[in-house]
Amino acid sequence: MNTSELTTISVEELKPVHLPGAIIPAPPEDSDTSIMRIEIGPAHPAMHGIVRLTTYLDGEQIVGMVPEIGYLHRGFEKESENSKWIQVIPYTDRLNYVSPVLNNIGYSMAVEKLFGVEIPRRAQFARVIMGEISRITDHLTCLAACAMEVGGFTFFLWFIKAREYLYELNEQVTGGRVTINWTRFGGNSTDFPDGFLKEVEVRLEKVREVIEEGDQLVTRNKIFIDRMKNIGVLSKEKAISYGFTGPLLRACGVPYDIRRADPHLVYDELDFEIPIGEVGDSYDRFLVRMEEMRQSISIIEQAIDKIPYGPVMTRERYLGYPDKKEVYGSIEGLIDHFKMVMEGHHPPAGEVYQPIEGGNGELGFYLVSDGSGDPVKCRVRPPCFNYVQAMPELALGHYVADIVAIFGSINMIGGELDR
């Protein structure tokens, strides 16, 4: 990131901080005024997850900011290198913990790319359905928190209620609300239970009602618009140079969506629109996410209509466990089972990068394999790392109270930011 361009105020007299994006103000010239430094975070109600924003204030106006991350660092990448390939899947649940299915899908797709296998169509549709449900939960959480920061507490609880309807769907398929550990290499661990797709339609209808209700409560509220409009504006060019993706980039007016740009799963068979914003302020980010939820609901409904019958797991021996009948009935099956338990997967040597459209932007997995049972490298490209980096520029010149409006709308998730 080109730091020199962003550091708009001279920093000679202060100790330079080598953090990308940091803006530190120069000391004021006349001795009567002084700049106040205030530590927002790491323990602060508006810093979801944990992050520290050292903010420099002139009165209530922000003149500088240094974001400091790493408070939730758990060593995901190192931990992955010491695990078997399959053991990484539960870790990915903990990356973006409000859309865990998408993390699962992203990692599994990367490994499948290493193997070079195509998963069954039913599994692909199932991933689309569950992934879009996850995208809705992600957006619901983000918008709820964002509105709560500017005072819409009722909106917050309504959306959290709607999120709970969807978490219960996760529970029906995977057994867990958040830590779901659902996908496998070559398919999904479980198929949908009986009557699940009917249940999805019923629940989506309820969620749609809540979204419309919330829309009526805040979207055209004068106070809400005043708090969100023209706050945290970023131009298209700046957003691209920061590496913005997902709803934030689209709010700046760039119709970039990995579901369209690099169609994975069965997204090219489904019809949906990519909402874009005009100015790239907090209000646009809010509206883009709002519209994306409606699009996701429509995607799920189309996928439910089109989902074929069939297996949800490939029959390749080197990918999944053989059937129990084979394990107990044939020597080959028993050996396969034994080797799978004892040695795990052995993807061919090589490296892959697999991006998917996560709830928050481009979620990429870069994997390196040397043919042994462990990943040599498992790098995650988290979407919100870039957003936090842009935080000082977004907040510069605004008031203290705007920090929460901006920070709420960029949807920082500590789990995937610090990994």
Binding site: P45, M148, W158, D226, R227, V400, V404
Partner: protein, 356 residues
Amino acid sequence: MQLVLEFLALPFVQDVLKILFILLLFAMPLGTFMTLMERKWSAAVQDRIGPNRANIGSYRGRGLLHIAADALKSIFKEDLIPKGADKFLYTIAPFFSFMSAVAVFAIIPIAGPIGDFKFQVTDVQPGLLFIFAITSLGVYGAVLAGASSNSKFALFGGTRASAQMISYEVFLGLSLMGLFMVYGSTQVSAIVEGQGEHWFGLIPKWGVFTQPLGFVVFFTALIAETKRAPFDAPEGESEIVAGYFVEYSGMRWSSFMLAEYIAIVGVAALITTLFFGGYQVPWLYHWESAPQWLVTLLQFGKFASFTFIFCWFQIQIRWTVPKFRFDQTMALGWKKLLPVALLNTVVTAIIIVALA
């Protein structure tokens, strides 16, 4: 018996009894009830159940016991004074908030007078000017708490509160100018008396009908004055955590909270008194043979129910709208409310002169 009656007839004793009745049996219980009501009503708005866990044995009383539980809890909590705080100022700050919230009730009549006896602690000649003076004192609570806490967040809250409250004091006064002109007095009893009349014997001559604009400005200014949502930038729970009382704990923290809830009741009582006829029951004059005790009871019932309705209304506002940013609060005041209040004053004056 004779002695007791004579003792009760002493003005001093009567004042004390009135204070006890109005404060301890009306304002404080309603204020503490508001703490539960806010939680329960916000729960209803937000599709939740709300507090219902506090119990004595198997009795839960639909969450009513939480009032007692909260009070007990805050009494037994540690009273922390942060390092580097100004102990004296830090200690007395909550009393300013609490006192100014409670003192509002001194001039509010809760029922019509019987002969010389008034159901009002004191009917001072300056009347509402007393309210302005008292609410201004409430600023000290926030400012002292913010300045003495030795915390930057608290300091922010304190400065925001002082700027906001001093500004809204202006519109508070201006919005009542029209009311003073219509009823020809600043004395509360005279204003309430004036609202007992009817136009064509049908429409009560309430302040809200004679001064609709004044009502809107006054209500807005009062909510801002008590730092309730949507004007709660001084508390700013999302960015400056809890504003000026962020460092407080235990009973001192509770004093701030209780002061806020008593202020809700105070605002509701003031609105009722000034704009909704106070204790005046409309169309009651048709029933001339009504016994005095029933009339007084009806009057108190009307006053109390309207007060309750406005308490509820404030809670409903809080859980419906987002919050203003601090500079937006000030802009709303100086750019919108001030012209409206001035316009209201001028138009009222012109109409009064034209009619006379």
